[in-house]
């Protein structure tokens, strides 16, 4: 039992209490039901250590695995046959492939936003959700990376994406946004992975120290790198974490900006828009948070993490969804305004065609799911209702997928020349690939939930009031050891040692 829990007479926030209430001058508790570090460790590690997993996990894993199998079949067929197996045609040369790419990259934005930007803003509630949001980021970027790779048709030339001279001694063309995209997404994946892993090291050490089986001890021990909670290590660790957060913050804003350049730098009406970079970033955060909420709600129910991912966390996420949803709604209306204000007939046509042309249904699904239904989050009752937020977050996921579909397909299908207009109709390969990406994501995410700590244990402990050496609960218990004062310079230490050397024990 931890000694901190034996600190007498300090009230512990009750399990399942309503911590969404704002009371001025008082911090709302972020960890409920305990004031004890050991309980937090147990709650999180129980998920990976328990021999049995809930039946729901097996069902979800089975479904994901089946979809992943479908992806394998669809991609193999595509590679052996050619991109003609998709429903692409002459004006619509990008459809489901790039829609899925942009959708998944967008999903991947929430993780780094939570881990980096909210870290810089000292939003302590991020600790409850950052680990699996970061994991979600990595898996989403893996799904995203699949699509540019396979949509080129001849995948054996995928190395043309990298700065390697080809057989004609030509290099890739760095003035193309498509190449910026390769660097942006590649950097984003690498940095997110490193950030995630650095955060995992102390928690892997926790799992290592608790592991019973040899395989677990070896595997967790290997990846924990011999972490032993040293204060000298923590010092550099915290500096490195801060640096990574500071570097990842502009990165996360740049990635979807660069993705939007794929469209904005072209000359196509409906794509050639200066609002795209901020609009895409807001949309990415919007969809990413919705995906985090869709995953966090079942995960906290299933794995008993309600006291760590509390209602306050969900409430905060829903507020972010509301704000970014409003930004996205603003962008939709501003696009229309600029199309009218530009006086360019092609631009005006592109937007009227979006709302009332052959893809009107996709446009209105997008507007309903992204702008109208999130407005319900203005009500606290909705923000704190589990079924409501789950359904609304799924709506946002659907809406954001359609946003990318609308932007890409409606602009291409009805371009400058009416004689070349066509319609995109997805084939079974398109649909199997789209669903298969969800399968890939699901498999990776479910394996992560099973074998790695879903919650950043060390960080959650760090935001408990008991983590501060100046917590008032410690003031009582500590007279018995002969230390009179709290301050760094208060009084001589109790030991009878001769002091007063200057031990500069720090290393670089």
């Amino acid at each position: 039992m931890s000694a901190s829990s034996s600190m007498q007479g300090h009230s512990v926030p009750a399990s399942g209490m309503d911590n969404t209430v704002e009371s001025p001058g008082q911090r709302a508790p972020l960890v409920l039901g305990t004031g004890d570090f050991h309980t937090v460790t147990n709650q999180v590690c129980r998920v990976t250590e328990h021999p049995n997993v809930p039946m729901a996990w097996y069902i979800a894993f089975g479904v994901s695995l089946a979809l992943l199998g479908g992806l394998g079949v669809a991609v193999t067929y595509l590679i052996f046959t050619g991109v003609g197996v998709w429903g692409l045609n002459n004006p619509v040369m990008w459809a489901f492939d790039i829609t899925n790419f942009v959708f998944w990259v967008g999903i991947g934005h929430a993780g780094t936003l939570i881990s980096a930007i909210l870290f810089l803003f000292r939003q302590k509630w991020r600790t409850g959700i950052n680990r699996f949001a970061e994991a979600m980021t990595i898996f989403a970027v893996i799904c995203a990376g699949l699509f540019p790779g396979i949509h080129v048709g001849r995948v054996w030339f995928a190395y043309w994406l990298f700065p390697i001279p080809n057989q004609m001694e030509m290099w890739p063309q760095f003035r193309s946004p498509l190449l910026w995209d390769v660097f942006a997404v590649g950097t984003y994946f690498t940095v997110s992975l490193v950030f995630w892993y650095i955060g995992l090291i102390p928690d892997l050490a926790t799992l290592r120290d608790r592991a019973k089986g040899t395989i677990q001890q070896f595997a967790y021990g290997l990846f924990a790198l011999g972490w032993r909670g040293s204060a000298r290590h923590w010092h550099r660790y915290e500096v490195a974490y801060l640096l990574l957060a500071a570097l990842a913050t502009p990165l996360v804003l740049s990635v979807h900006s660069v993705v939007s350049f794929d469209f904005a730098v072209s000359q196509l009406p409906g794509w050639h828009t200066t609002i795209f970079p901020p609009y895409f970033v807001a949309g990415a955060i919007f969809s990413g948070f919705a995906m985090v909420a869709s995953l966090a709600v079942p995960a906290r129910e299933l794995f008993g993490l309600k006291d760590i991912i509390t209602m306050r966390h969900l409430d905060n996420m829903n507020k972010v969804i509301l704000v970014t949803g409003c930004m996205v709604g603003y962008a939709y209306s501003m696009e229309f305004f600029i199309a009218w204000y530009s006086g360019a007939p092609y631009e005006q046509f592109a937007f009227i065609n979006r709302a009332f042309g052959q893809y009107w249904w996709a446009y209105w699904i997008m507007v309903s799911c992204n702008v109208i239904t999130p407005q319900l989050f203005w009500f606290k009752k909705v923000r704190t209702s589990i079924p409501a937020m789950f359904i609304l977050s799924l709506f946002v996921n659907v809406g954001m997928w359609f946003e990318r579909f609308v932007i890409i397909v409606s602009s291409l299908a009805n371009d400058f020349l009416p004689s070349s207009w066509d319609q995109f109709i997805p084939t079974w390969v398109d649909i199997a690939t789209m669903l298969g990406a969800f399968g890939l994501f699901g498999v990776l995410f479910l394996l992560f939930c099973r074998y790695l700590p879903m919650i950043a244990i060390a960080e959650v402990k760090g935001v408990m009031p008991e983590a501060s050496p100046h917590w008032e609960g410690y003031a009582k218990g500590h007279g018995s050891h002969g230390h009179g004062s709290h301050g760094h310079h208060g009084g001589a230490p109790a030991g009878s040692q001769p002091a007063l050397q200057d031990p500069r024990t720090g290393q670089p």
Binding site: F37, Q173, Y197, T206, R228, G229, S230, L243, P469
Partner: protein, 206 residues
Amino acid sequence: MTTFATPSSPSAPASTEPSVAQTWGLVARFANPAELMHAAEAVRKAGYRYWDCHSPFPIHGIDQAMGISRTILPVVVFGVGAAGCTLGVLLQSFTNSFDYSIWALVWVTGYPFLISGKPLLSFPAFVPVMFEVTILLSSLTAAFGMLAFNQLPELYHPLLKHPGFGRATDDGFFISIEARDPQFLRSKTGEFLRSLGASSVEVVES
């Protein structure tokens, strides 16, 4: 791991008691972050040099209590970041703007792309990739530089096999003092740690 002979140990040649010579140090457990911090201050003031605190999460203010000087990691990261930015410029201008040949394991030649009549050295178009390369290299440096300065991975360490020390990654707060510290005396150091309020003081074998 080097172990210093305890200079004033009256008890006899080391050969009779191999475990004495094998001592890596002492580890003392404290009840909570507050006690750990007070003890850390006292250990620093007592003049120990080879010692450390261990906690499941970073404790605010323990750096000052222990007298840890600030790491130079940010300087290294800045340097590498600047180099990364330069690398981004060189990569793009070499491959897209000139036809110089350089030797990079094999001879490679740049390819001056003339696209839409834009200048060969169209700098604004190079900014995104410069930015990404900068971020990539500085992030990798921050992460791996931290591990390198911490001398990790270090898969074997005497503390890691010490029973009970596993709580350092759970809810235990420890101070370890190494036997190679010039002031280290098994009995006296143990006594000192106990006087700071340690709930247990144990010998760690190396």
